[in-house]
């Protein structure tokens, strides 16, 4: 596996739902710590992101995450890759914040009290100190998205894929969330529409109509995208 560590590769990747082609001929080798996918609604960027943890499998070509193919070793890839979705309401599965984070650890072999302790720790580290016993669905939108993130971080993945995690947040919470992403040890792949949040990213991939149309540093890539949608 050496030589593949820290690399997400797309090799001639395509995807179609029946006759409708969503992605075509995607060749990307991602080695940067902060990568963003940008594109219009329906451009295929979410589908591309879902391929990193095997939630969607390519209908042609192949994907490799640190040398592992999600089509063959989905479980191993998902242990490596955490995923944060747009709507935290559908990610939160347990009644309180602490229980929800502990839910991620249910297969870890840790005792119940140890799981609860780890969950409380992760919540405290990410600005939800004291919320372990709080009903998860009564948190604010920003707090819910933080909770969804904690549910992933407690598993200490190597890669974190975030599919438009800031779309439902207000400006302050958007900034906070992205700042938090910036501080993480994990490699981050962010799918987003919030173009002002990309300054600290190393690489921005613009997807349009199922293809990569620009792949550059944030400033030129964002400019290309703005010209594209004009």
């Amino acid at each position: 596996m050496s030589g593949h560590e820290g690399v997400i590769e797309f090799e001639g990747v395509g995807h179609a739902y029946g006759d409708r082609v969503v992605l075509e001929g995607i060749d990307l080798t991602l080695t940067e710590r902060r990568v963003a996918f940008v594109g219009l609604n329906g451009s295929g960027k979410s589908t591309l992101a879902r391929m990193i943890n095997g939630l969607v499998l390519p209908t042609s070509g192949r994907v490799r995450v640190d040398g592992l193919d999600p089509a063959e070793s989905g479980a191993a890839v998902r242990r490596k890759v955490g995923f944060v979705f747009t709507n935290p309401d559908s990610q939160i599965v347990m009644p309180t914040a602490g229980e929800d984070v502990a839910f991620s650890l249910r297969r870890s072999g840790l005792s119940r009290s140890e799981r609860a302790r780890r969950a409380a720790e992760v919540l405290a580290e990410h600005g939800l100190d004291g919320y372990a016993d709080h009903p998860a669905h009564q948190l604010s939108g920003g707090q819910k998205q933080l909770l969804a993130l904690c549910g992933m971080l407690v598993l200490d993945p190597d890669v974190l894929v975030c599919d438009e995690p800031t779309t439902l947040l207000d400006l302050r919470n958007k900034r906070r969330f992205v700042e938090l992403l910036g501080r993480l040890r994990q490699r981050v792949v962010l799918v987003t529409h919030d173009l002002d949040l990309l300054d600290d990213f190393e690489r921005v991939v613009v997807i349009d109509d199922g293809r990569v149309v620009a792949d550059d540093e944030p400033a030129p890539a964002v400019k290309y995208y703005r010209d594209l949608v004009r």
Binding site: R50, N53, L55, G74, A75, R78, R79, G82, F83, F85, N87, D89, S90, Q91, V93, M94, P95, T96, E99, F103, S104, R106, R107, R112, D133, P135, H137, G151, M152, L155
Partner: protein, 202 residues
Amino acid sequence: MTPLGLYVPGGSLLHRLPAGAKFLGMLVLVTVTVLLGSPVALGAVCAVVALGYPLARIPWNRVWPLLRTLLLLAVVIGVLQTWLLDARSAGVTVLRLVSALGAASLFTFTTRIDDVVAAIERALGPLQRFGVRPDRIGLLVGLTLQAVTTLSGIAASVREAARARGAERSVVAFAVPFLVRTLKHADELGDALAARGEGDHR
């Protein structure tokens, strides 16, 4: 009001009892109300259940909505039964219902969902050798309860949207978006569970 919003945090004797024991106790009590036929005995059971509320220190603002529902139910059923049968059977039925519902509500007021799920997982543990996966059943119970909250939330926002368009009486204006959003939620929840490794056997 949803079952998840019902838990009243506290440290009373009833709160501290293990969830499994409390659940069994509630089942026994409800069974007893069905077996008892004397209004006096049922009245005593009803009084015992009622005493549970101050014992668990359930605040009045939580008790009142429940009491209102129970009173309404008692009046409607009492009147109906008196008319169809006689006053004695009406009294027995009403006392049975009130004690059973009162006991069940007391259980939800004093028990965390997570503890119920854990108790179910523990109780089903021995069935593991027959291929039953207790953690799966625990998750199922947890998600079912969660679904009540989610679906009532979706229903409320769909009704609001229908009202905004002046279509509050239209069945279609409610049913279509409600179904679409429910199915979409199911899809998203499935993806989220898969992303968290649920379904990846080890």
